[in-house]
Symmetry: C2
């Protein structure tokens, strides 16, 4: 008893006529007759009471007709649902992201994705960079928004946006009126520094830039997250180098200055496990790329 046969039987009962049923099924009448006979033989049950020219449906036939209808509906629904799941239109997507995203591509990407795939359940998790990488590797996280590069062969990455570094000073600072600053001018300034564990990449980059400018920064304060860094600077604790995302904060006593020698910007990307063919991941990364195209760092608007 397979679904095709049930479809045939359903059509015969529905139409009450082998010829019309065959036509509606797109096959000829003789094979249809044979299939119904075979079904009856297989079940060992007479489903139609035949009188050479007409037929009546037996009680067993009526029962099968009802059940077959439900089974066929269920099968069609399943097929549709599996297709949708396969193309990533339904299901559950676990998205990990590092804090920096909160003010850049995450909001736009999530909004666009929800609009495009309303039936996908999104599980958003803010995580530290290292946990996120581990989660992506062991499958706990489907897709991650974090800063490349990540030295894992198991992961695949696409860079979405580049955020230039800006120099941050408080409004009372001697350089606050400047539009552009030479990094060397920060040589003796106290620094508000991204912590090594909270943001290893930025930490490294800042140290590197200072070194290139010929000095080692005197660290007055560590902070984990960009908003903390910004508020410390605004409070006059020190200067800082931070990605352009800071411009999305409305802090009156914070000044964001361009850096004269234009250091390489920080990247933000989307990553997933290599070979994860899930439509959900494919769709999310595509939407994230679309969101990134639209995204403009505020500092570059002028």
């Amino acid at each position: 008893m397979d679904l095709r046969t049930l479809r045939y039987f359903s059509a015969v009962v529905r139409e009450g006529h082998f010829g019309r049923a065959a036509a509606s099924l797109g096959i000829a009448q003789p094979p249809l007759t044979r299939q119904i006979q075979k079904l009856e033989r297989d079940l060992g049950v007479s489903l139609l009471q035949r009188t050479r020219k007409k037929f009546e449906v037996t009680p067993a036939g009526r029962l099968l007709y009802e059940r077959a209808g439900r089974l066929l509906d269920g099968a069609d629904q399943t097929e549709a649902d599996v297709r949708r799941a396969g193309t990533g239109e339904t299901g559950r997507l676990v998205i990990g992201f590092v804090h920096s995203n909160t003010f850049t591509i995450l909001p736009g990407a999530v909004a666009r994705f929800r609009a495009a795939y309303p039936d996908v359940e999104m599980d958003l998790r803010e995580m530290r960079h290292d946990n996120l990488v581990a989660g992506l590797e062991n499958g706990g996280i489907d897709v991650g928004l974090l800063r490349p590069p990540v030295s894992s062969r198991a992961l695949q990455a696409v860079t979405l946006i580049h955020e230039p570094f800006l120099a941050l000073v408080w409004s009372g600072h001697r350089l606050a009126a400047r539009r552009t600053v030479q990094l060397g001018q920060f040589a003796s300034e106290p620094f508000v520094m991204y912590s090594r564990i909270g943001a290893p990449l930025i930490h490294t980059r800042v140290m590197e830039m200072c070194k290139r400018a010929g000095f080692a920064p005197r660290i007055a304060q560590y902070a984990d997250q960009i908003d903390t860094v910004a508020s410390f600077v605004a409070a006059g604790i020190g200067v800082a180098l931070a990605p352009s995302t800071v411009t999305s904060f409305n802090m009156p006593s914070l000044r964001c200055l361009r850096i004269a020698d234009r250091p390489a910007p920080l990247a933000m990307g989307v990553m997933w496990r290599t070979g994860n063919a899930s439509g959900l991941v494919r769709n999310f990364t595509r939407v994230a790329r679309e969101a990134a195209v639209v995204w403009r760092p505020l500092a570059l608007l002028d």
Copy 2:
């Protein structure tokens, strides 16, 4: 997407291994591999994430696995139910019967049938002979317990039991002490007679017997049903000729006498529409026949 393919896919996911799945399905591994590939092609969805030697089930595959399990269970259940319906183990059986049955084969047949087929819903309807015949012909009644013969080509009948006629008198009657009576001795007796419309067959038979015995009965009272006839006789209103069923009544003032020339007994049979292959009807008629074999008219016990 047919049920066989779903069974295959289910086995693969369940076993987590193509070889074992193929073995459990009783087929070789290569065709199984091909069927799964075909399923994925048909759905346009990758169900298994293959790594040359192992595989993982994708979210879409997991969804299909769950749904497939339910569909297959449903299909198996349907198959079993239809089989049972076809063999007459389930369903609804409308049984029509004439009143006379109440004291003969009906109770036994119903009890046996219910015991043998507890899942069949029985709809028991007492009806007049003519309505019962009409019901059987138009399909409103599946099977009838009534007195043959019935002159309908559309109906098929099996005689179950024969009930001999007995002569009934009240205990104060001049013949009450007799064991056997000649019908001629009733020539001038007042008769309690079955009505023509209530029991046309018995009415005719009684008239016929009297005529054969050389007299026309003087009718003192008409009655429709055997218990009414018996109680009228017991009340001394007249004598009567009735089927042996009367002996099942415990009426102290009623005497049942044998009739000397042993008139042909009344038959009681089971009837159904010709060509009604319903297992329910087949089963009921069989059980009724079994019940009839066991049934013994009380009057014949001595």
